[in-house]
């Protein structure tokens, strides 16, 4: 899951980025409204964390412009503005959640999980495909009865697959949602990681869940027939 942080306070952006990355999210940061809007436009994010008092274009305007361009990415406003008027105005301007600074990092993470859950088709707190389950809270992955150890990137990749089951995911989509903007999508890193993941979750289990569609991308599905392009 890829998250954009629009925050002018470098240190705040840095610790959020660090904390989120340790939770296997891919994180980009933008230091002002202008850069933030640009990045939100060219990349596809699963969630945006937005500060309101930011230079060049302020947070209210960023919010307005993102929504008026029919982009309905979940937006979590994270700001020091804590009056009731501000919170009401923020939620009414189209943000999905509003958290005031200073904040509890645990709460911040839980709200992000809730927002991501709300957006997807899966409303349960954990993700499940066939006998494979993944918990975004504890990061535990279980196939059948066996707990599977994954590296951070493998976990992020699997979470993306499991949030979009039965959908064809192209390499571009995967690179956009699992890696941050430093990633060079021309390499075969994605294929390498998909193979690592396959070895860990499909080897020795039936049915095989991850399949390659040659020239297109990958799909995670329990049923062989269901090959609709998502």
């Amino acid at each position: 899951m890829r998250i954009l942080i629009i925050e002018d306070e470098t240190k705040v952006a840095n610790f959020i980025k660090k904390g989120l990355e340790e939770e296997h999210y891919a994180v980009d940061t933008a230091p002002d409204g202008e850069a933030g809007l640009y990045m939100a436009e060219v990349n596809e994010y699963d969630l945006i964390v937005l500060d309101l008092m930011i230079p060049k274009i302020d947070g209210w305007e960023v919010l307005r412009r993102i929504r008026s361009s029919k982009n309905f990415v979940p937006i979590l406003v994270l700001t020091a503005k804590d009056t009731a008027e501000d919170i009401v105005r923020g939620l009414d301007s189209g943000c999905d959640d509003y958290l005031t600074k200073p904040f509890e990092f645990k709460v911040f993470l839980a709200r992000i999980r809730a927002l991501l859950r709300r957006e997807g088709t899966v409303k349960e707190p954990f993700l499940k495909v066939s006998d494979l389950t993944l918990s975004p809270i504890t990061h535990k992955v279980i196939r059948g009865t066996k707990e599977i150890e994954l590296t951070s990137k493998e976990y992020a990749l699997l979470e993306y697959f499991m949030r979009n089951p039965n959908k064809v995911l192209t390499r571009t989509m995967i690179s956009e949602h699992v890696w941050d903007y430093h990633f060079d999508s021309m390499t075969n890193v994605i294929d390498v990681y998909v193979n690592y993941l396959r070895k860990k979750i499909d080897k020795g289990f039936e049915p095989k869940l991850i399949r390659t569609l040659r020239g297109v991308g990958y799909i995670l599905s329990a049923e062989r027939q269901n090959l609709k392009k998502g």
């Binding site: 660090k18 904390g19 020091a80 600074k101 990092f105």
Partner: protein, 486 residues
Amino acid sequence: MYFRSLRFKLTLWYVFILGILLISFSGFLYFTLSNSLYRDADKKLRSLAELISSESTSPLFKFGFGNIDQALETAMNFKPIGKFIQVLDESGRIGKKSENLKNVQLPITLNALRNATNGLITFETNRSFENIPLRIITFPVKENNQVVQIIQIASSLEDVEDALNTLLIILLVTVPSALMIASLGGQFLANRALKPVDRIAQTARMITSQNLNQRIQTLKVKDEISRLIDTFNEMISRLDRSFRQIKQFTTDASHELKTPLTILKGEVEVALRKKREAHEYEQVLESNLEEIDRMSKIIEDLLLLSKADIGEVRLQKEDINLTRFINDLVEQMKILAQPKNIKIETSNHHEEIHILGDSLRMRELFINLIDNGIKYSEEGGFLRITLSTEVHSREKSPFSLMEREETHYAKITILDHGIGIAKEDQEMIFNRFFRVDKARSREQGGSGLGLSICKWIVESHQGDITVESELGKGSSFTVRLPLYPH
């Protein structure tokens, strides 16, 4: 409550004054009228008496008993209606009488008789005659300066007294009722005039710090009340402004403190989420220390400013040799300028400049300004600090146009060639927590209060501070402080 109200007092005064006016007017009217009526009656009696006595054919000359009416009618073709006439001889014996007296006679007082024998006319009012009020003239008729007879003519005063009584009744009825009506009208007018006062009071009572945007509705007519309303509204506006400023300041201050707090909390929470290497903890602690220092600086500056606001900061003013002071300071500041390879030049006035100031505050002032110059200059730039004097002359008072007061100022200019300040920001930079570039200012460790403190220091020394700047070219801060003459 009502009896103490302004409208009651107004009405009372109004009725009181009107009452005095009406009563004196009524009295005047009554007495003038009664006077004129009585005089009129007397005049008629006298002219009749004169007429009768002057006539040579008058039946008076033949004294005797009998009816005088007939005699008068035949002699003078005169029929006195409503008059009682009787003729007496000089010793007071009654002779002829008019018919309407029948068998009674007009009363005659001793006084009147004595007057008459002495040749004097007497007017008397008599109420004892058959319940009719009478006005009686006792008139001596002379012949060769000798009183020969006395004529008494009386006329009834009933008409006069009736008229006067009617007038009195009218006045007794109309004056109080006029006063009643006037008091009602006065109350109505007072109510009408004072109604806006109630509205003002009502609005004023409703205004608290929460609804200072409310105003009292203004009147169409520009009168005293509307001036009062305008004054009230202006006062509310002023309150509103200062409340807003305080609110803004509180918001800014809390926001300034929240940012380092967010960083402290966030960094520590993220660090504690799992076991880490020692150097990672070190990094967090170092960063935390930075934030704590920043918070201390903000709090210190805030405390200083709020103390300054209520006038609790005492200045220890002493004679400062500004030339030496600035030069020493610049030497110290050069260490700070070194990492960015910035040169600081000073150009001194030809003679030493002295001011009266608090050296600690002066240090703070110039360190702040020079430090800003260094922070906002590019690498390898330079600052120029110029010391000079300036004379300001102004009229001593508006009444003595010729007398001019001259104040000598020390003028210190700190010029940098840094990023400059946009025109629209220039007047804001002395405001608390105003930052042209928030991120940059925080990175440099500023509290956002530095220039506010500079402004306070300069103003508490009776000086002023101004800025000239052009975006991209640099800024020049000028401080003027009154010279201390030697």
